[in-house]
């Protein structure tokens, strides 16, 4: 566990699942950013961001994920996002970033990807 409200799991070696909860807005995106930076220190080959328990996300949350995706590209690990509800998916579409990320419906698919 880390960051009070963000669950971090390692279902298999080299794979980390980061699961934030509730709303990711300007007041909470720093927690997600810290969690994602923290797990990168362990040099995983894949990080899954499971948004199943996230009811809302704004552009600060999206910017945090863009930052992580860039880091993934630069450092050779994989970032997969899963569990988007329609409200959260909407911001990816409004920002036209749905194709920038690897997005799958479920955690199982993210782990198998």
């Amino acid at each position: 566990m880390a960051s009070n409200e963000i669950t971090i799991e390692t279902p298999e070696p080299g794979v980390v699942v980061v699961s934030p909860v509730e709303d990711i807005d300007m007041s909470r995106s720093p927690q997600l950013r810290n969690a994602l930076r923290g797990v990168q220190n362990d040099r995983p080959r894949k990080i899954v961001v499971d948004l199943t328990r996230v009811g809302y996300m704004d552009s600060s949350g999206l910017a945090t994920l863009v930052e992580a995706m860039r880091s993934a590209g630069q450092n050779g690990w994989q970032l997969i996002i899963c569990g988007l509800n329609p409200r959260v998916r909407a911001i990816f579409e409004i920002a036209r970033l749905q194709s920038f990320f690897t997005i799958v419906p479920t955690r199982d698919e993210a782990l198998a990807n």
Binding site: M26, D58, R70, R87, A95, R96
Partner: protein, 158 residues
């Protein structure tokens, strides 16, 4: 339209309270006849506008005032039928602050072709809302006027 806002809230420029503003706007939008996803998008637009005021207008100072006002676009009908929203054409939201004034014409969304963190707020606001007007307040600060109309298909727009 009644010149008085039907709702007027003063909040501090603390990101902690963005959730309250979102809940208020989303709840009222639902009563005005918008579907759940549109309510969420309107709340997102307001969240982005408030975050821009906090981040850029007040340089993240968390003790400055922001005013959020809401009108139905058919205010008289709402007043006569407070339990329903059948005659509502949409909603008007005004966000005012005492932050430093900027040229309203400079408030444009950035080019989305270059993916980078940040700078999406103004684009999201313009994408979600039907009318977006930035203006300088008479004395100090900025005013953002947002209008969202209920879809032509009826109050429960898809």
């Amino acid at each position: 339209m009644d010149p008085r806002p039907h709702i007027r809230v003063e909040m501090l420029s603390n990101p902690l309270y963005l959730c309250g503003a979102r809940d208020l706007v989303s709840s009222v939008a639902r009563r005005f006849g918008f579907d759940d996803l549109t309510c969420s998008k309107i709340a997102l637009a307001v969240d982005e506008a408030l975050a821009n005021v906090i981040r850029h207008g007040y340089d993240r100072a968390d003790d400055k005032p922001i005013w959020l006002s809401i009108w139905p676009l058919a205010g008289e009908a709402i007043a006569e039928h407070p339990a329903g929203a059948d005659d509502t054409d949409g909603m008007k939201i005004v966000i005012e602050d005492e932050a430093r004034q900027v040229d309203p014409s400079s408030m444009k969304g950035r080019d989305l072709d270059h993916v980078r963190p940040g700078g999406l707020g103004t684009h999201i606001i313009r994408e979600v809302m039907d009318e977006v007007v930035y203006e300088q307040r008479e004395a100090t600060g900025m005013r953002l006027i947002l209008v969202k109309r209920v879809g032509e298909a009826g109050p429960q727009e898809a």
